[in-house]
């Protein structure tokens, strides 16, 4: 048996039943990593020694029954923009290439309490800005399904690591689709929770009003359990919401009878690859066959989502990334004549081109004389988009569509053309503008065998219905 092919919950169960020791599980993951990493490069930093020590400690706690969590002893990979105390956290940027956080993110601490074991920190687009993981300062990650193709982004390392069995599950972050799109490209399952569900404390901010941490795993069940583990009301995050229920696993029910599913016409028009379209429509039909009610509708405003998103996210990013100045931590240029020269040189040398582009864009839309025309207008557009979704959710329990317009592109195809790259986020970014929860689950492959993911959205705080629809769909398919 290849341990690494188990889901997180399957492994957790075998560990609790003493069929597999925690050390064996960690060693199996590490073996897989050492066999494949040279070609795939899912990780930026490996936590090899510490993971083994941690394994023995967790094993003791499982043995004496102080740890009974379903995730106890299960190895995890964490995106490198989530702070891990005493472990390098780079955001895939040269400017944080030497940054060792003095504290851990709340979401990671929640996992530690469940007995998770950290295998390492995964590759990503620099500061989560990108859709292919190619903007990483530390080299690209290859798609495990086809090494000539990107894994998607920005959580490309996390999704590739799960797809390549280099971990049992991973955490990613999603600001405009950064969990759902690479999940689709890599053939794994990922959830972007409702804004405010998972604490952002310790997540290095990109677009503060849009960022959410979420699970990436091999199936819906794992995702539900992981989400339940990482979600919490955190007084350290003022945007954290005290939810009525954190019982996400209650959604693991195979029943969609009477569930109303809306298919937005706007998500099936020009620009959508025909094979992807066919696969998504087939997924909808499958749910219909299970008793769901399908209906096409016009969501509207889709064309405005991209400019609104890039205005808001870049504006926030331009301010959020101001702290990386070479003064307190991170990269500082070797030779600077005076303070402003040091700022300029450290930042010019420390940030990559895509990050610089967004800092400049963000600074521009916030500058006096342009604020009203761009930033305020974007905020108003955001409110209208939220309203459009609210109206849709008056009628539908779930909105279903593609997670990305195509399957995984080849290296260089998107990153070389920023506008094309921004447009590829069209099906995912509205979700973040509206704060909604969304999931991407594998629903098929194109002619080349590349995975296609179907995206489902639910209204805010209704992850339970989202998980029910996704789980029910998953039950109609064979295990991979």
């Amino acid at each position: 048996m290849d341990i690494t092919q188990l889901t997180a919950l399957e492994l957790g169960k075998k560990i609790r039943q003493r069929e597999i020791s925690v050390r064996e599980a960690v060693l199996a993951s590490q073996k897989k990593i050492s066999e494949q990493e040279d070609s795939l490069h899912c990780y930026i930093t490996l936590n090899t020694e510490a993971a083994l020590m941690q394994a023995d400690q967790i094993q003791k706690k499982i043995d004496d029954k102080t740890l009974t969590s379903p995730l106890a002893g299960v190895p995890v990979a964490i995106k490198d923009n989530i702070c891990t105390k005493d472990i390098l956290t780079t955001c895939a940027s040269k400017i944080l290439s030497n940054f060792i956080p003095p504290y851990s993110a709340e979401a990671y601490q929640n996992l530690e309490k469940q007995g998770a074991i950290l295998l390492g920190k995964t590759n990503m687009d620099e500061f989560a800005m990108g859709s292919t993981t190619e903007t990483s300062a530390f080299g690209v990650t290859k798609n495990p399904r086809d090494p000539n193709r990107v894994p998607g982004g920005s959580s490309g390392g996390s999704c590739a690591a799960v797809a390549a069995d280099e971990c049992f599950y991973a955490l990613g972050s999603d600001t405009g689709g950064s969990i759902r799109q690479p999940s689709s490209f890599c053939g794994v399952t990922g959830i972007k929770p409702t804004y405010g569900t998972v604490s952002r404390y310790g997540l290095v901010a990109y677009g503060s009003s849009l960022d959410q941490i979420g699970p990436i795993a091999k199936d819906v069940t794992d995702c539900a359990v992981i989400l339940e583990a990482i979600a919490s009301y955190d007084p350290k995050d003022s945007t954290s919401v005290k939810r009525d229920s954190y019982d996400f696993t209650a959604g693991l029910v195979n029943d969609v009878k009477g569930l109303k599913i809306g298919l937005p016409n706007d998500y099936f028009g020009d620009g959508l690859d025909s094979e992807v379209k066919a696969s998504i429509l087939a997924a909808a039909k499958t749910l219909e066959a299970q008793g769901a009610i399908l209906e096409e509708f016009d969501l509207g405003l889709v064309d405005y989502a991209i400019p609104a998103y890039y205005t808001i996210a870049s504006a926030e990013a331009s301010s959020n990334l101001a702290r990386f100045d070479g003064v307190k931590y991170g990269y500082r240029t070797d030779d600077a004549e005076e303070l402003h020269h040091m700022y300029k040189k450290s930042r010019s040398e420390g940030f990559g081109p895509e990050v610089k582009r967004r800092i400049m864009l963000g600074s521009f839309v916030l500058s006096s004389g342009y604020y009203d025309a761009y930033y305020l207008k974007a905020l108003r557009t955001k409110a209208l988009i939220k309203q459009a979704f609210d109206n849709a959710f008056d009628k539908y329990d779930i909105i279903l569509g593609p997670a990305a317009p195509t399957t995984a592109p080849k290296f260089g195809e998107l990153v070389s053309d920023p506008i094309k790259m921004y447009l590829s986020d069209i099906y995912t970014i509205s979700t973040n503008l509206a704060g909604l929860p969304g999931i991407s689950i594998p629903c098929g492959n194109d002619h080349a065998g590349l995975p296609i993911g179907v995206q489902m959205l639910a209204k805010c705080f209704d992850e339970k219905t989202l998980i029910r629809a996704a789980y029910s769909f998953e039950q109609t398919k064979e295990r991979r």
């Binding site: 504290y103 290095v204 007084p235 995050d237 945007t239 301010s319 101001a322 100045d325 700022y343 930033y375």
Partner: protein, 477 residues
Amino acid sequence: MAKQYETVIGLEVHVELATKTKIFCGCSTAFGGAPNTHTCPVCTGMPGSLPVLNKQVVEYAAAVGLATNCSITQYCKFDRKNYFYPDNPQNYQISQLYLPICRNGHVEIETENGKKQVRIHEIHMEEDAGKLIHDEWDDCSLVDFNRSGVPLIEIVSEPDMRSAEEVIAYLEKLRLIIQYLGASDCKLQEGSMRADVNLSVREVGSETFGTRTETKNLNSFKAIARAIENERERQIDLIEDGKAVIQETRRWDDAKEYSYAMRSKEDAQDYRYFPEPDLVPIVISDEWLDTIRNQQPEFRDEKMKRYKEEFDIPEYDISIITASKHMADLFEEAVALGSNPKKVSNWLMVETLRLMKDRSIEAEDLKFSAANLAKLIALTESKTINSSVAKEVFEVMFDENIDPDQYVEAKGLKTVNDEGALRSVIETILTENPQSVADYKAGKVKAIGFLTGQTMKAMKGKADPSEINRILMELLQ
């Protein structure tokens, strides 16, 4: 004929709030810690850290707003002010631009020219920056983030003041209100109150404002008065010479009595303000506002009125005592402990004011406790010590807040009540000074003073002077 000019002044006053913890994290605001010991990931701008608003800051800010007749913005927000400087760890300051907590207030000031209202444009909340320390020896700069994130309010007045006298009256009024609220100690020298002066001049009778400058780094009322006079002259000279006043920020050098331009409007920074996405809007409910309103203290005017009714002390004393919240508290506490109000007032008005002047100490910095003052008064009332010993003890108490009971005991300063001993000392003095005795008997009453002094000297000051007098008279009969 020379033109007549009018000075137009508006003030931006920063006040450090007296919260125990910082505005957006749990770090202490206490002074004097070793550099970077009152810090955490939030106030040092670590990646991924997030601010959480200290509710006390909102309460203090709203309380100051209520006391200055402002309307309170019950749905207010924070904004980010973006600029790069090493004392600002995030390279943005969390402040308020679009929806400040207080607006449209006013305070009444009184000068020689009578009473006047100064309008308050707004009061907003924000965070303080850290401190840069320049190490000349190593030729480098270091940053101390202990002050980073200390809560501030900025009180922005309308350009309603016309002279340094009005400016100082306005600042004193604000200071008194804020001190009474306990929202800050408002010390200019220590920087817990800082005033930036916006000043322009125009010809008397003109309706339009002249071009204004902003002067910073004013650390005392004297510096403010000097800087206003200096800037007024500078602007008038420019205008008289046919030159334009440039809108700019100037820094006052009090030692040189001169200000110099820091930056002009042309290279003014664009702060790129936008709503702070890491904080949710602050909703101040009617109930919360009522609670803050109900907790407003007795302000100076009401206190003066009450003192007049309750205590038989001069109006002048009342005005001095209530001019400082701390002194008024000392007065009321000592009286509550049973001291005679008149006696307490005397100690405050005479010895306390004398020593404050001598030591250059402000009323808010008085060290001695009301309890110790009450004890000292009790010691004099019971004649345990005489008045000159009491003054000596008070001086030590003023400097070190010693317990007068213990101090008098330890130093053996009690008045000697042993009449036999005193009588024999006086008998010796009389034998040793026959000339004085003869003088007295010859009608020179002054001689008694000399004899009393000699006796007190022999008693090392620990005698009751009225007792000496009684025995002397008796023996000289």
